[in-house]
Amino acid sequence: MLTEKTLRRRYFTGLFGSMIAYAIALVAVNLIAARLGSGHTSLLVILSLVPMVPIAFAVAAIVRFMNDCDELERMIQLNSLAIAFATTAFASLSYGFLEGVGFPRPSMFVVWPFMAMVWLAASLVMRLRYR
């Protein structure tokens, strides 16, 4: 059986490795897209999704961590995810109504970082409860 330290090291290596690969892919795709210019629509569509390949590896690292972690950690993570899910739903719906009265329409990229921040904050608070 793998120790807690090994599991965490494997998780963070997988996650940060994927994030670094994502950043590199993002820069590379932007450079290539700038050189190509317009007129290569189908190629640009494929290129724009290339940075999602490393993100798929990040998802795999998260799923593997959730499967490998012990019952308390899994409970903390699932409760934190539930809080993040509900908070994001509340915030996005509220803002959706505000858009109806003229508030600016933000990018879809805003949703995930918001949810991730709530997930992180909730897991830190929950972890403190069990100390």
């Binding site: 059986m1 807690e4 012990d70 019952e71 308390l72 950690e73 972890r127 409860r129 100390r131």
Partner: protein, 66 residues
């Protein structure tokens, strides 16, 4: 839920990290169990009892369950 995990661990001269490794759980979970802040699942409760060669009732106080 109150329990005798800390007492039994100290009797056997085990550190929290060693007990965690024996049980295949995180040290954080051992800390929470010993503090009575976390009630383990039934399989984990049986695993802990078996490790200390005790019955579940000898390790955990069912009257203090949440």
């Amino acid at each position: 839920m109150k329990n005798r995990i800390k007492l039994l661990r100290v009797e056997r001269d085990l550190s929290q990290a060693q007990l965690a490794d024996e049980l295949g759980i995180a040290r954080q979970t051992v800390v929470a169990l010993e503090a009575g802040k976390y009630a383990p699942s039934l399989p984990l409760a049986f695993k802990i009892s078996k490790l200390f060669s005790k019955s579940v009732e000898d390790v955990f106080d069912a009257d203090t369950a949440d």
